[in-house]
């Protein structure tokens, strides 16, 4: 039986899980927002990585067929997206129950309660099909796909359409319901869910208009040629793939070893010997993907790390921001909130900057005030954002300098590495300061680097063997022998 290894990186903002095989290849990725209940976040990320791993195995098993028939790939991609919706639906139902429960407990006045319950029903009725549509037609794009974010956005949209006097009661109910709903442990039956997803997919393709011209503008994604290729042969494709899908649904995933890392690692329900510092994991992951890496910069939610590694991927020194999280992912999140735009829009907008307005990066909250001041004096949003992104990198450069500078090759990891404007200024400043010859590596999986490093440590089974862990082990042995 194949052996698999799990790495979980419990960050301050997001929790990531990666599953690798015996060849160090990533076969499963899972990510969710970190929440009050760390253990739930870790479980969700892990389960997601396991589902994703099943799909990876499926694609691998079908590699030759997929190459010959693109509609196979389309079917599997669609299926994975619809599968995600199936999970989402369960969580949405849980949230619905929670909202009703809160409403009943919170409003003593029966009339008021019924009014709010009525609005809640309408809100759910109107956003549920939208979410379903987004998943089924792969319409989520680069948007954040975390349950909390997706539903919050839709809920807010609906609440804003109503009379302003309803804002407060509806948001109160929301605030009291989302956290328990989000922290509820849901165990999914993969096989059952995949069957349902296949049914839904069938429904989608059966109902798809025959010709592209008949499609409403709303569903412009339907112009997708692959989709029509699949529609033409849907019955055949789904029947052929059914057996193969059953195979992966029945597959037993043998997680041989695991490592937990990240900010909240001490709270992971892992044995102590499986807990490792995120600094080591990020460095190990980055070095494994780009073996010539000597300097790693990781910008995460709350901390920035500059790490120097040797030829084995072992850390020789590191520096972290100590007193303030300005310049990290949260800084960008705060700025996005201040500007009332989504986090994913920040980078593209900053890329349009014609100049970079100078912004002080020492404090996140002050940067918010500065932002308003600069807007008042007529600076363009794009230019302010350009300045903000540059300020983040200036701060990172100072940390890199403290850690000893940039050595070839330089690998950039962490959630912030997905932001194009950050990459632009980082490239510019690294080249200016350390020469044109520096090779800069950024991987599409940059946010998973810590979890990947963790999984790789797990595969190699490198036990740090700390005295504490040993003590506990001995204790367990003694207790058992007693």
């Amino acid at each position: 039986m194949s052996k698999y290894y799990l790495g979980v990186d419990l960050g301050s903002t997001t929790s990531k899980a990666v599953i690798i095989n015996e060849q160090d290849e990533i076969i499963g990725r899972g990510i969710t927002n970190t929440r009050a209940n760390y253990s739930v976040a870790a479980d969700i990320a892990r389960d997601e990585a396991l589902y994703n791993a099943r799909f990876s195995v499926l694609k691998k098993n079908l590699a030759a067929e997929i190459k010959a028939r693109p509609e196979y790939k389309k079917y599997i991609d669609d299926l994975e997206s619809v599968f995600q919706y199936e999970q989402f639906k369960v969580r949405l139902d849980n949230l619905g129950e929670e909202l009703v429960k809160t409403c009943n407990a919170f409003f003593k006045d029966g009339k008021k309660r019924d009014e709010i319950l009525g609005h809640l029903r309408n809100i759910r009725r109107s956003f549920k099909p939208k979410i379903k549509y987004d998943y089924i037609y792969n319409n989520l794009g680069s948007k954040n796909q975390f349950f909390r974010d997706v539903v919050s956005e839709k809920y807010n949209e609906e609440v804003n359409k109503l009379d302003s006097s309803l804002f407060e009661p509806l948001m109160t109910v929301w605030d009291k319901s989302i956290t328990p709903a989000e922290n509820k442990v849901v165990t999914f039956d993969f096989k059952k869910l995949i069957e349902e997803a296949m049914e839904l997919l069938k429904e989608k393709y059966e109902n798809l208009p025959e010709r592209a011209e008949n499609i409403s503008i709303e569903s412009e994604r339907a112009f997708d040629t692959e989709m029509y290729l699949l529609k033409g042969d849907f019955k055949n494709v789904s029947e052929t793939l059914h057996e193969r899908i059953d195979e992966i649904a029945n597959l037993e995933f043998n997680i041989e070893n695991m490592t937990g890392t990240g900010y909240g690692r001490a709270l992971l329900p892992f044995p102590e010997s499986c807990i490792r510092s995120e600094i080591l994991c990020h460095a190990f992951g980055a070095h494994a993907v780009f073996p010539n890496t000597r300097t790693v910069l990781d910008i995460g939610g709350q901390d920035t790390k500059a790490i120097q590694v040797d030829k084995y991927g072992l850390v020789t020194s590191f520096q972290m921001n100590d007193r303030c999280a300005a310049g990290c992912g949260r800084y960008l999140g705060y700025i996005a909130d201040e500007m009332s735009i989504s986090l994913n829009e920040l980078g593209p907008m900053a890329m349009k900057a014609e100049k970079e307005v100078t912004i002080c990066s020492t404090c996140t909250v002050f940067a918010g005030a500065e932002l308003r001041e600069l807007t008042n004096v007529g600076e363009k949003r794009e230019d302010i954002l350009g300045g903000l992104h540059k300020a983040i990198i200036m701060r990172a450069m100072s940390l890199i300098a403290r850690s000893g500078g940039v050595f070839n090759e330089f690998t950039f990891t962490g959630g912030v590495a997905r932001n194009q404007a950050v990459i632009k200024y980082l490239t510019q400043l690294v080249r200016e300061n350390y020469g044109e010859g520096i090779k800069i590596n950024i991987h599409t999986d940059s946010i998973f680097m810590g979890a990947l490093g963790g999984a790789m440590f797990a595969r190699r089974n490198i036990n740090v063997d700390l005295p504490d862990a040993k003590k506990k082990k001995q204790q367990v042995v003694t207790e058992t022998s007693n």
Binding site: R276, S277, E278, I279, L280, Y312, L314, V315, T316, S317, F318, Q319, M320, D322, R323, R402, G404, I462, N463, V464, D465, L466, P467, D468
Partner: protein, 433 residues
């Protein structure tokens, strides 16, 4: 911290505690007994001169660190800030000023006497000068003596520098001390004290060097700061200090013979997983918690620079009864923070090699420019020269607001894991660490 058990102590520590208790009692009754009191600092101190003239020394930075360990520094610092001292001023200074504003009650709860003389014998730290300027305002009319200490800019002590310092001692410092003491300096008595100093210094060096042994019988940083106490402060040159070091020496060599590990407040260490060299002073407000992180990880500090603030005896310096003033001059110029950066790096490299260290760690102190300036450069240089993992953490001397337990623990955990994995991988690769 309800479950903290009582700290384990060595016999020598108990002796030292008594010595200190007696000193503070003597200080509290100094005025009644007609004793003159000299305020002075630890680095480059000329304690033998003070004691030879029957005066009593007070070391404000020792009081500050004692207040820090007794969790009193936070409110003293707040009081000093209330009267206008900025957030960026050295926290030893603010703690001391705060203590004075609160009635100058010393760490043992006894009142400290006002100074009859402010004796600044080390100018390598600019803050010391400013500190005494402030004390002068608090004690108007107090006598002041200043000994200008040339910095080792070129990495050595020259004859001119020694002559310059001896001249200051002879023409300015000693006459002022004599005036305050109301008596002439007895050079024979001074020489006798310097002979005691030298003997105690021999014993102290042997204690320090016991850490070359694997496993080390001592922690040369956390326990080292206790061991260095008598020699660094009010007891150098005394018989009792000599007795203390004889006892300490016996204890440590007995431990070494038995192959025992260092004694810590949590109990004796059971194994030595990592040997470290540490640069920078420790944090005092969370001293025991800080030490415990190392204890839990099996990390022993085998050499530290902080234990050399009172002199680099392990590099050969001894007080010389034959040349009293010259040796006091050399002593002042030879304390660790008076070395230039290349000398400090050379010394660290020497320690790492001689003491077979696995890693090098810096505890950078927000408050202390004398120590902290240049530390990143030193770290980089050490990394290149020695090829061992280096670590960097930040805290403060006595300002509890700057000790972030979670941050420090997180970094130290990462650092120890770094060291641990290096060992494993290097063994796999068939290389020595």
């Amino acid at each position: 911290m309800a479950d903290v058990k009582e700290a384990v102590k060595e016999k020598s520590m108990v002796i030292q505690k008594e010595m200190l208790a007696n000193l503070f009692t003597e200080l509290s009754t100094a005025k009644e007994n007609g004793k003159k009191v000299v305020y002075t600092f630890v680095p480059g101190n000329i304690t033998e001169l003070i004691l030879a003239m029957d005066m009593l020394p007070v070391y404000p930075e020792i009081n500050a660190l004692q207040s820090g360990m007794r969790k009193k520094s936070g409110s003293y610092i707040k009081d000093a800030e209330k009267v206008g001292f900025s957030e960026d001023v050295c926290t030893y200074v603010k703690c001391d000023i705060g203590m004075m504003l609160n009635g100058n009650i010393g760490p043992t709860g006894e009142k400290l006497p006002e100074p009859d003389l402010l004796l600044l014998s080390y100018t390598g730290c600019f803050t010391f000068m400013k500190w005494f300027e402030n004390l002068e305002r608090l004690y108007p009319g107090v006598e002041i003596a200043m000994l200008h200490t040339p910095y080792q800019e070129d990495g050595k002590i020259t004859e001119d520098q020694v002559n310059y310092m001896v001249k200051q001692l002879k023409e300015d410092v000693i006459p002022k001390m004599e005036k305050v003491a109301g008596k002439k300096l007895d050079y024979d008595r001074l020489s006798k004290m310097l002979e005691n100093s030298s003997k105690a210094e021999d014993l102290w060096v042997q204690v320090l060097q016991s850490a070359k042994n694997v496993p080390s019988p001592i922690d040369a940083y956390f326990a080292g700061v206790y061991y260095m106490g008598p020699l660094n402060t009010a007891f150098r040159g005394t018989e009792i200090a000599l007795e203390y070091y004889q006892e300490l020496h016996n204890e440590v060599f007995e431990r070494m013979k038995l192959g025992l590990h260092p004694v810590t407040p949590e109990g004796e260490m059971k194994e030595e997983r990592f040997r470290l060299v540490v640069e920078g002073p420790p944090n005092w407000t969370n001293f025991r918690e800080f030490w415990k992180i190392f204890y839990d990880m099996g990390a022993v500090i085998v050499a530290s620079t902080y234990t050399k603030v009172g002199g680099l005896y392990d590099q050969g310096f001894r007080h010389d009864p034959e040349k009293p003033l010259e040796s006091l001059a050399k002593y002042c110029m030879g304390c660790y923070t008076n070395l230039n950066l290349p000398q400090r790096v050379d010394l660290l490299e020497h320690y790492i090699k001689e003491y077979k260290a696995d890693g090098f760690l810096i505890n950078s102190i927000k408050s202390c420019n004398s120590f902290s300036a240049g530390q990143l450069l030193m770290m980089r240089e050490i990394e290149q020269r020695c090829g061992i993992p280096v670590g960097f953490i930040e805290s403060d001397l006595v300002d509890p607001r700057y000790f972030s337990y979670a941050n420090i623990k997180n970094r130290l955990e990462s650092y120890f894991q770094m060291l641990g994995q290096r060992k494993v991988i290097m063994e796999q690769e068939g290389q020595t660490v």
